[in-house]
């Protein structure tokens, strides 16, 4: 495996908790890998599975969706909707031969900057083990 492999990660973060939590990581000057590029949505309930598929189509090696903890959603329960959609996304990816480890849904509150940094760090490490996205390449592992 290419040891110089740097995975590309798309982060889709909700405005109220996780995006603010990611900002807090910055304000606290906590370092984490630059592999993640963050796109802001108002709520994880907005995350259309198409966004995740688009990311993989565009060469992402992993997609991280992060929202408020259950019960803390600014829009009542958008994060719960995201949670319900997640298994469908994973199943869709499986059918396309994309390993389930490449898609992650997590909860990060506005005060969890450290946690966010840790999640990114772990995800980068996991993806490095997994290697670059090879459509269909994950079929065996998912079987």
């Amino acid at each position: 495996m290419n040891t110089n492999f740097e995975p590309k990660i798309l982060g889709i973060l909700c405005n109220w908790c996780s995006y603010t939590g990611a900002d807090l990581a910055g304000i606290s000057r906590i370092k984490y890998p630059a592999n993640i590029k963050i796109v802001r949505v108002m709520c994880t309930g907005r995350v259309d599975p198409t966004f995740v598929l688009k990311a993989f189509q565009q060469g992402a090696d992993g997609v991280l969706v992060s929202g408020c903890h259950p019960g803390d959603c600014h829009y009542v329960d958008g994060n719960v909707k995201a949670m319900r959609r997640a298994p469908l996304v994973t199943e869709l990816l499986r059918q396309m031969g994309i390993e389930k480890e490449r898609f992650k849904l997590v909860w990060v509150s506005a005060s969890e900057g450290e946690k966010f940094a840790k999640i990114v760090e772990d995800m980068v490490a996991d993806l490095k083990k997994l290697g670059p996205l090879a459509p269909g390449g994950g079929a065996e592992k998912n079987a």
């Binding site: 109220w16 906590i30 590029k37 108002m42 565009q58 958008g78 909707k81």
Partner: protein
């Protein structure tokens, strides 16, 4: 139609420029499609920085702007303003967050520069699809809801009422006053707490602008800044408030007299089932404890209280009432709880007699407390020696990491009171002495001169040796282990978030910080506003603080609410969803997805219709729409997919 995009990359002094190569980022931005100008500048948010953008819009005919700088949560309003001054709609702006989410979290210049380029690329592609949006302006309800009747809430309520506006003050307990009402004296001046608090409590009850709802809790909050609808549940007192004069005849007649631990006295005294919280209670009305009253729990009682009440104010048929209140803004002043000393059993609380918490000591030394203000041991004797332990549950990795701020000063106060009222020797065990406020250090010096023994070292254990209480600690100044026998121990416990802070945060749609207290918008510059517009916080629900700071925050929160009232109108987010009737297949999936019931179904046209006034723009419906009929303004599929493509390209 092609767009003319300008890209502005900020150095933010060294904040961005020291890690990322901003010039390279700007140069790169200049090569992107539709970008007609790309510049870098030391401080984009400064006046000259904003002028730069404004002039380019006017002279180069820019139609879209990307600012690569700090988080949009910081300066998006600033740059929106710059666009608007150049007659360009503020929503034709996109920010690339190259500070909080790039230069501040990356330690390698190359990585930071490349990441910044990606983020700028995403922003440029996204902004191409931006559309102008008009802000929604709504009128403001001039009433304010204040939750919590401690000193923070009282201060806020009085200030708004004095400005001539309606306030609903909701208090969970039967009386306002909060924790401060339990205190004896207040540091550093040793003012009697009741003497300075009760006039304010009376002012609340007499203000024509304040409607006081005691024994009540907020169950639900709907709406948004300017127009909240609040559901309040009020528990039955079983006393008709208009008839009760607060004479107390029912409390003396109650068959359970002196049988029920009195929470106001921290359980150190007993009360009746019919009781008045404390002598200066506001409202000064009795209440019947439904968890204890024999008639209400067992259905059988001689009802002495009914007979004793000459006003016939007792009404056992009362039920919980639910009220809906319309307000424009909300102030949360729900206060704190004290750390349960039982969770640190090494200090012997709840195990040995004469080990008290700080708040219990307040009651012991209070003239209206269980001992009429005499400091006595359980056996009724004056102690010959008293130990006061700081930081019980504070500054401790095992419990709360933070400093509770007030315990050093209240411990010094306790020492002074013991010295004033008894001949006892006093030992104070502290980690560091934090006497930071106005006249605090002077008070500490005064108490040192009174002959109190200050031992620098955290109390490690309270034990009982041959029937004698002993405090064990390391004296870090002497470098010696010490065991000091005492007759009484006071544990000054940490201030902690209320047990239901999580639920309250959810009801009001606000966040909490890592320690569990309510989260302010900015720890330094915006300490009383929250992530939900129109919901403000004051006092110890935000973090532990002393009375002067609590009062200051109460006033600050009132000023925030008064600002909402004074403008009369507020801008609310114009981000909302719209369903294209030409595309909608009428499947109705979106109806069930909307948490605000903003989507209706037009039976005639067989399409979903979204009520813009109710929609909050979360976009759950758009994500679930199988026909892609729903467009969320400013967060459309087109815009988000372009950004995703851009950052990954």
């Amino acid at each position: 139609m092609t767009e003319r995009i300008g890209v502005y990359v900020c150095h933010c002094g060294h904040n961005i420029a020291a890690v990322g190569d901003v010039e390279k980022v700007a140069q790169y931005a200049g090569t992107l499609d539709n970008v007609v100008i790309a510049r870098d500048y030391k401080y984009m948010c400064s006046d000259p920085g904003q002028e730069l953008i404004k002039n380019d819009i006017q002279q180069l005919g820019l139609t879209r702007v990307v600012v690569a700088a700090c988080s949009p949560r910081m300066h998006e309003p600033t740059f929106k303003g710059a666009l608007e001054r150049a007659n360009l709609n503020g929503y034709l702006l996109e920010m690339a967050n190259i500070r909080e989410q790039c230069s501040w979290v990356t330690d390698n210049t190359q990585n930071a520069t490349e990441k910044a380029k990606s983020l700028v690329r995403g922003a440029v592609r996204r902004v191409y699809y931006h559309r102008p949006i008009e802000e929604r302006v709504v009128s403001v309800n001039k009433a304010t809801l204040v939750v919590g009747g401690g000193i923070a809430g009282i201060q806020a309520a009085l200030q708004i009422a004095e400005a001539g506006h309606k306030v609903y003050l909701v208090e969970r307990e039967a009386s306002i006053g909060g924790q401060m009402a339990k205190f004896d004296k207040t540091f550093p001046t040793m003012d009697c707490a009741a003497c300075i608090l009760t006039p304010k409590m009376v002012a609340v009850s007499q203000s024509p602008n304040i409607e006081l709802l005691t024994y009540a809790e907020v169950a639900q909050v709907d709406g948004y800044v300017g127009n909240f609808t609040v559901t309040v549940r009020q528990k039955p007192r079983y006393i008709v408030e208009d008839l009760c004069t607060g004479c107390g005849d029912c409390t003396t007649a109650c068959v359970l007299k002196n049988r029920i631990p009195d929470a106001f006295d921290e359980g150190l005294s007993k009360r009746s089932a019919a009781y008045i919280s404390f002598p200066q209670a506001i409202p000064l009305k009795a209440v019947i404890d439904e968890k204890e009253c024999l008639l209400l729990t067992k259905g059988k009682c001689s009802k002495n209280c009914v007979e004793a009440c000459s006003r016939e104010a007792i009404d056992f048929s009362q039920k919980e009432t639910v009220r809906r209140i319309e307000v424009g803004s909300i102030i949360l002043a729900t206060g704190f709880e004290l750390f349960d000393a039982r969770k640190a059993p090494q200090y012997g609380y709840g195990i040995y007699d004469d080990v008290y918490t700080g708040i219990e000591f307040e009651r012991l030394t209070n003239a209206s407390g269980p001992t009429q203000g005499k400091i006595l041991t359980k056996r009724g004797e004056e102690p010959k020696s008293v130990a006061i332990l700081h930081c019980i549950g504070s500054r401790d990795e095992n419990y709360q990491k933070y400093c509770s701020r007030v315990c050093c000063m209240s411990s010094v106060k306790f020492a002074h009171l013991v010295k004033e009222k008894t001949d006892a020797e006093v030992f104070e065990f502290y980690i560091d002495m934090r006497t930071f406020g106005k006249q605090y250090e002077e008070f500490y010096t005064r108490v040192q001169e009174e002959g109190v023994n200050f031992i620098r070292g955290k109390g490690a254990e309270v034990a009982k040796v041959d029937g004698q209480l002993v405090v064990r600690a390391e004296d870090t100044l002497l470098g010696a282990y010490r065991e000091i026998p005492v007759d009484m121990v006071v544990l000054n416990t940490a201030l902690v978030p209320r047990h239901d802070a999580e639920k309250v945060a959810q009801i009001f749609g606000i966040s909490r910080s890592e320690d569990g207290f309510f989260l302010e918008s900015h720890i330094k510059l915006d300490p009383v506003t929250t992530s939900t517009d129109g919901v403000h916080i004051a006092g110890c629900c935000q973090s532990p603080k002393d009375i002067p700071d609590t009062v200051a925050q109460g006033s600050a929160a009132a000023a925030q609410s008064l600002a909402v009232i004074a403008t009369g109108k507020v801008k609310i987010s114009p981000i909302s969803a719209w369903s294209d009737p030409a595309v909608c297949a009428g499947c109705r999936i979106c109806l069930g997805l909307c948490p605000f019931k903003a989507i209706g179904f037009n039976e005639e046209k067989k399409v979903a219709e979204i009520n813009q006034a109710v929609c909050k723009g979360c976009g759950s419906c758009a994500a679930g729409c199988p026909s892609n009929a729903i467009v969320v303004s400013h967060f459309s599929n087109q815009q988000l997919l372009a950004e995703i493509e851009g950052v990954l390209a």
